[in-house]
């Protein structure tokens, strides 16, 4: 059986930039659309009086959205090539849906930002790019769409490249790519376009297939949040004690000395177990069971790391948050926090500023964050938290905030550190 790797994509674009058509094209040309789905959208297209099959209908989701004619929630699509399997989080582009884009981008390796070749970069293109960088994506692809409507004019494309290259340089984005496409006609999506000899790069799908994402994860700092302690307490497994979890950073090997936080206990790794047998090393995002050589006290919420490379437990967090609830966030608010496998409570000590995601301007006078606002806060926690800066590790640097009266998830947060403050 062939082995392929997994790549997660987040898409974003303003309404009508052609995002649905582009995704439909990717699915269709990569032969992911099956006969009954195609028959269905052909049928709907005909009923709507369209002459050709509207590929955008493929990504059409729930009934409420179909009725309003807009996508309002993140939807997930799957397609595969011989090299890779792709999970695509399709986030709607409406102004009010920053929270959806943040959600889609939180698990993504790469963002595809749609730009209409006629209009050029808009406020929304910049917002989407900023959100991709804020969420720590290393790769952004600008799909400059509707090139057919500007007669594949190279100069029009280059103006967009220059504009967005300048903008991206202000953000922390190591890998930015531009591809001129026509989603409607399929040029440079899966197949190379025939009307753009001046474009020397690959089509979008080829680019996605060859993107180097393996090194995006932190393979240096060992981080293992304990999820679940396996203690069978049977005669056969009398002394068995395994710490189950998903590796959040670094490479773990038997024999490694480890430090357990927040207790500070030291031990070393006796073995790394999986259902299929012991293994010689574990790295992100593997789920494994660790056995330690000493009988130290370890429970869910603890972090296993190395004695000479570990975060200091803290009670104050400096973070960017994206607020996702109707009722605004103000200083003084009390909320629950979940970070890795740790739950605690927080008080919002200070709202430092609200960030205008279109202009990157900091509003220092803001006294609240509304729905879809992004801002910087200082939080005080009820228990010590063991965190890394989000820039260093997306798994240990992220958290969610929960309203304890409604149980709703009201914010996503990213830990800052002094060296890597955002714009």
């Amino acid at each position: 059986m062939s082995t392929t790797s997994l790549v997660r994509i987040a898409t974003a674009g303003s309404v009508d930039d052609g995002k649905s058509t582009l995704i439909g094209r990717l699915l269709y040309d990569s032969k992911e659309i099956l006969a009954d789905q195609l028959a269905h959208i052909a049928d709907v297209s005909a009923r709507r009086g369209l002459e050709t099959v509207d590929l955008a209908l493929l990504t059409d989701g729930l009934r409420a959205e179909r009725e309003q004619g807009i996508t309002i929630d993140v939807a997930y699509r799957y397609f595969a090539t011989a090299r890779r399997k792709f999970i695509l989080a399709d986030s709607p582009g409406h102004v009010q849906y920053t929270r959806n884009m943040v959600t889609g981008a939180s698990t993504a390796d790469v963002a595809i930002v749609l730009v209409d070749a006629r209009a050029g970069p808009t406020e929304q293109s910049r917002r989407h790019t900023f959100i991709a960088s804020l969420l720590g994506l290393r790769h952004v692809v600008f799909a400059v769409n509707k090139m057919d409507l500007v007669d594949w004019d190279e100069a029009a494309f280059e103006r967009i490249v220059d504009n967005l290259t300048d903008f991206s340089a202000r953000l922390n984005l190591p890998d930015v790519t531009f591809i001129p496409v026509s989603a409607l006609h399929g040029d440079n999506v899966v197949e190379r376009g025939s009307r753009c000899d001046w474009y020397g790069g690959p089509p979008l799908l080829w680019h996605l297939e060859h993107l180097h994402v393996a090194s995006d994860r932190n393979m240096i700092d060992v981080r293992f949040p304990v999820q679940w302690v396996i203690r069978p307490q049977t005669d056969e497994y009398h002394d068995y004690r395994g710490y189950a979890g998903q590796v959040a950073g670094g490479v773990l090997k038997p024999g490694d000395e480890v430090l357990v936080l927040p207790s500070g206990a030291k031990s070393s790794i006796a073995r790394i177990e999986t259902y299929d047998g012991d293994i010689a090393e574990a790295f992100p995002p593997m789920s494994v069971v660790l056995h330690l050589t000493d009988d130290v006290d370890v429970s869910r919420g603890d972090l296993i790391c190395r004695p000479h490379n570990h975060p200091e437990p803290v009670r104050e967090l400096d973070a960017m948050v994206c607020w996702m609830a109707e009722a605004p966030l103000r200083a003084g608010a009390r909320l629950a926090i979940k970070q890795t496998t740790r739950n605690a409570r927080v008080v919002v000590d200070e709202l430092l500023y609200r960030l205008d995601v279109n202009t990157l301007h900091r509003d220092l006078d803001a006294d609240a964050l509304g729905l879809n606002d992004i801002g910087r806060v200082k939080l005080r926690t009820s228990a010590p938290m063991i965190v890394d800066a989000y820039r260093r590790n997306r798994a240990t640097g992220s958290f969610i905030l929960i309203d304890e009266t409604t149980n709703e998830t009201v914010a996503g947060g990213m830990i800052l550190d002094r060296e890597t403050l955002p714009p």
Partner: protein
């Protein structure tokens, strides 16, 4: 050495992580096990997440009474091998007790009734979370469902009021009466499931492989002749070599013509197929474009 996980390992790891989170954050979870291929994969994932310990939850089958005998037999044997506890929630009992009424006519199925039995069982056993094997690629309404989703007091799903789900940080808090639905296979495709079954050498009930069966054609699909099905005028039973892509209520689950007798044959047939699993084999989803969405809102799994 490249530190890149093959996609099946990445999907598996993500599923184990979810299972352990739900086991840790909910008080009384339960895993739905029908004997179908997705739930067979779920059992393997549970073994990988919790062995050598016992599963921190029982298994439950909502039995329509229209289950293929081969599947029931397999279900009981597998549960015995695992040494875990199985609860069978019976639609027949719900009907016998007068809490639900069977549909009538040749196109009757017990799909809707299943919801009543499921909700009763949740209440009886005080389950606060259920693991299900649903995948987002199965159907369009599912494409937007969270990996950890919620149902209200009436078992209803509100697609407009879903919690944001960021990173792999699942918020397992619920109010009394609500319950969570956890879908470890959310990001798997049908092909992933088959490849995983092949890789793990998981045993499947025999109806997943080509076999001779007495069937009849209806609405372009093939259905098993059984005591639970009524033939319409002009429908003639005949014998055909078929296999199933899903196993559910046998009155509404279609078979596909096939000669694939081994797992490898099935995987290559699936890889080459041009029709989705549901489009090909589930009569209940063909009724209306929004059929699935409506049923889910009512508490269908």
């Amino acid at each position: 050495m490249t530190y890149e996980l093959p996609h099946l390992d990445a999907l598996e790891s993500e599923a184990l992580h979810l299972m352990r989170e739900v086991a840790a954050e909910f008080e009384r979870p339960c895993l739905l096990f029908s004997g179908g291929k997705d739930s067979i994969v779920m059992l393997r994932l549970a073994e990988k997440a919790f062995r050598p310990g016992r599963f921190p939850f029982p298994l439950m089958h909502v039995d329509t009474g229209h289950t293929f005998p081969e599947v029931s037999e397999f279900r009981d044997r597998r549960v015995a091998e695992l040494g875990e506890r199985l609860i069978v929630a019976s639609v027949q009992e719900t009907v016998d007790a007068g809490r639900a009424v069977d549909e009538t006519g040749p196109r009757a199925s017990r799909n809707r009734l299943q919801t009543t039995t499921l909700l009763e069982a949740i209440e009886e056993h005080h389950f606060d979370a259920l693991f299900g094997g649903a995948r987002r690629d199965e159907e369009r309404a599912r494409a937007k469902e969270r990996i950890l989703s919620f149902r209200d007091d009436f078992g209803q799903w509100d697609p407009r009021a879903q919690r944001p789900e960021l990173w792999n940080l699942y918020n397992g808090r619920i109010r009394r009466g609500e319950n969570g639905r956890a879908f470890p296979l959310s990001n798997w495709t049908e092909l992933d499931v088959w490849q995983y079954i092949a890789r793990e050498r998981l045993e499947l009930p025999p109806i997943y492989f080509a076999h001779e069966r007495e069937v009849f054609a209806r609405d372009g699909m093939l259905y098993a002749v059984s005591e639970h099905t009524e033939l319409l005028d002009g429908e003639e039973p005949f014998t055909e070599s078929v296999r199933y892509r899903t196993v559910g209520d046998l009155t509404i689950t279609g078979a596909v013509r096939s000669t694939a007798t081994t797992l490898e044959d099935v995987v290559s047939e699936i890889a080459a197929t041009r029709v989705t699993e549901r489009g090909e084999t589930r009569a209940d989803d063909r009724v209306s474009e929004a059929a699935m969405e409506d049923r889910k809102k009512q508490g269908y799994f």
